[in-house]
Symmetry: C2
Subunit: 269 residues, 2 copies
Amino acid sequence: MGHEFDRDTEVSAVGENEYAADLGPGWVVGGGVNGGYLLAVIGNALRETLPGKPDPIAVTAYYLAASKPGPATIRTRVVRDGRRTSTVAADLSQGGTDCITVLATFGDLSTFTGDVRTTALEPELPPVEECIPTSMAPEEIRRIAPLMSRFDLRLDPAYAGWAVGEPSGNGVIQGWFRLNDERDPDPISLLLTVDALPPVTFDLGMPGWAPTLELSAHVRAIPAKGWLKVRHETRNLAGGMFEEDCVVWDSTGRLVAQARQLALAPRPQ
Amino acid sequence: MGHEFDRDTEVSAVGENEYAADLGPGWVVGGGVNGGYLLAVIGNALRETLPGKPDPIAVTAYYLAASKPGPATIRTRVVRDGRRTSTVAADLSQGGTDCITVLATFGDLSTFTGDVRTTALEPELPPVEECIPTSMAPEEIRRIAPLMSRFDLRLDPAYAGWAVGEPSGNGVIQGWFRLNDERDPDPISLLLTVDALPPVTFDLGMPGWAPTLELSAHVRAIPAKGWLKVRHETRNLAGGMFEEDCVVWDSTGRLVAQARQLALAPRPQ
């Protein structure tokens, strides 16, 4: 029934502005459940909180503690209920511990019309069939990172050398992205997409877990059906932290999401 | 006594996690008090809330309603008190109306050491004396935008043509920045700096007020004394919204802050 992504991000109302979710074991990576997946779950709770405003326009998350598979509670609060957009707060907790706290603005992106002036350049990727499917990763990697099996990710070989011990040193990872079951992208699934790729520090020769401190995502348009192009890049690693900028372009060549996160660099191994 | 910026961003504790501020009339621009100035005021309240963690590392603001000069109340709440960093929430209200809601992570940036690997390029600016001081703006502009008199801002002439009706069309504004009284930059004043320049939409030929929906700032290092280089750029205007990316570099050539905001494009005039 339905797509895996929708089943696993479903929430049910259990009280006023309170929702229950069951975090799926398939979304684990590194030290916990993937942060982008959590944003999509919280996004669904916020959608329920705001009838007529189904789309995340801006979503900011501060990560407090790692989440694990199993039950979670999402509490939402309307901060400002506007005509076109509303600003909301949300927290996701497990067993009484807050895992992530969120501020967001939601609206109906289909009503946001007007000129498009884009000077950003679409990522240049080799054709899908010339990119490296992460399904080719060794079985032991895929076992500790089941997240990798939730979508079809084809990495640009120019920035995938880290997989064989030869990082490019550019701080870039990019590729084609599509959810399982050919589930087409929408504004909620983009919240996963902006935080689903391996950390760009892999491409700097720094393997290991890179916990996110803060992530802000802007959904700039409703994505068209089909493959997405996703590019992550860092330009400054300093004081044990790095920023990771993400852009997502849809199959019509439109920039549909921008995100930036500040993360802790992996400790030297 | 002291510098104008410090006097005008001062807060005083009036209760547990509650602070009073007096928003200065000198910080008005467009439809209200400047959003970066508000962040600096809130930053001072958060600093008081978190002894031993004086520096904003990540600060996110969602703007709810315009602020005006006069009394304001800031309420703060510790969300997670960590060893090296703490995550906090804050709201600034006036007369019972919330104007801005904030999430932030604070710490002691002097303890964040380690390698610096920067591929970002420092903005190329003509020498200070070849840039255009905003103090040359017409008196009627300076009267409705007193913010412009709070700092010495020297705009790169390559992207200042909008001032004489000839915008470059690039969506870029950049220049040299220094607070009045030669008050040197610090992590708190950077919160002002990332939102103090005119909106980049001016350079796209779109004059007018561009209200911020969301702004996230990352302070990446303690800035050195002296002039700052500030660059704002947008790469995507769509659906009546645009993002504005800001980078701030200090006098030693170090990237000290990155910020991104999502703002509403000015209505056609």
